[in-house]
Symmetry: C2
Subunit: 118 residues, 2 copies
């Protein structure tokens, strides 16, 4: 994938955000095998594989930090009949929903999405 090499500064400029944040997220994407990068002068990042081989589900998985329906439920009261079981039941619901979401995103590729830009 020699083509399309961009610096974090360039990307940051496009989305109006701090370059260090870009590098941090890129670091995450790299760990997930979606991008690779070249250090040193004229360095930058590029896709680790062709865009038509990258499914949106992979990106979603790499990028998301919590379930689509949210997670942050704190500790319910274990003395409460409902509180005691709620997390178990929510987890299974969330997983089920997440699965359909992944299936949907798995049918779309990054190339397809990028193709929309004229």
């Amino acid at each position: 994938m020699g083509d399309e090499l961009h610096s974090s500064e360039w990307i940051a400029g496009s989305i109006n955000i701090n370059p260090v944040l870009v590098r941090k997220e890129l670091s995450n994407l790299r760990q997930h095998g979606l991008v690779e990068s070249k250090e040193g002068k004229n360095g930058g990042v590029y896709l680790a594989k062709p865009a038509n081989k990258i499914h949106l589900s992979e990106i979603y998985e790499a990028v998301r930090q919590e379930s689509a329906l949210g997670t942050k439920r704190t500790d319910p009261n274990p003395k409460c009949k409902v509180g005691k079981q709620i997390n178990k039941h929510l987890d299974s619901l969330y997983n089920e929903v997440e699965d359909t979401l992944m299936q949907k995103l798995g049918k779309k590729t990054l190339a397809e999405f990028a193709g929309k830009f004229t």
Copy 2:
């Protein structure tokens, strides 16, 4: 739905959270027609319709504040070919995904979910 009337204090105790926060969210659910409440002594909230008539999609719609895939993308650089169009394309993608999610949640009712609690 005369049965199952609970005070915000009681609910707050179950989820280990502040009663005022409960009342705030309840206020939102009320505006969405999911619950009703009774003021005064022995007051509290109750479902506005039977649990088997409440679909999880309705709850999701009432409760969520941002799309399942997130929204908070700030202002992209309009001088950038990509930045200029990104929000439009993300929106349509998000909507499509959201639709499948709603379809999935629309098949489940609150009664069904509550039935899991033994």
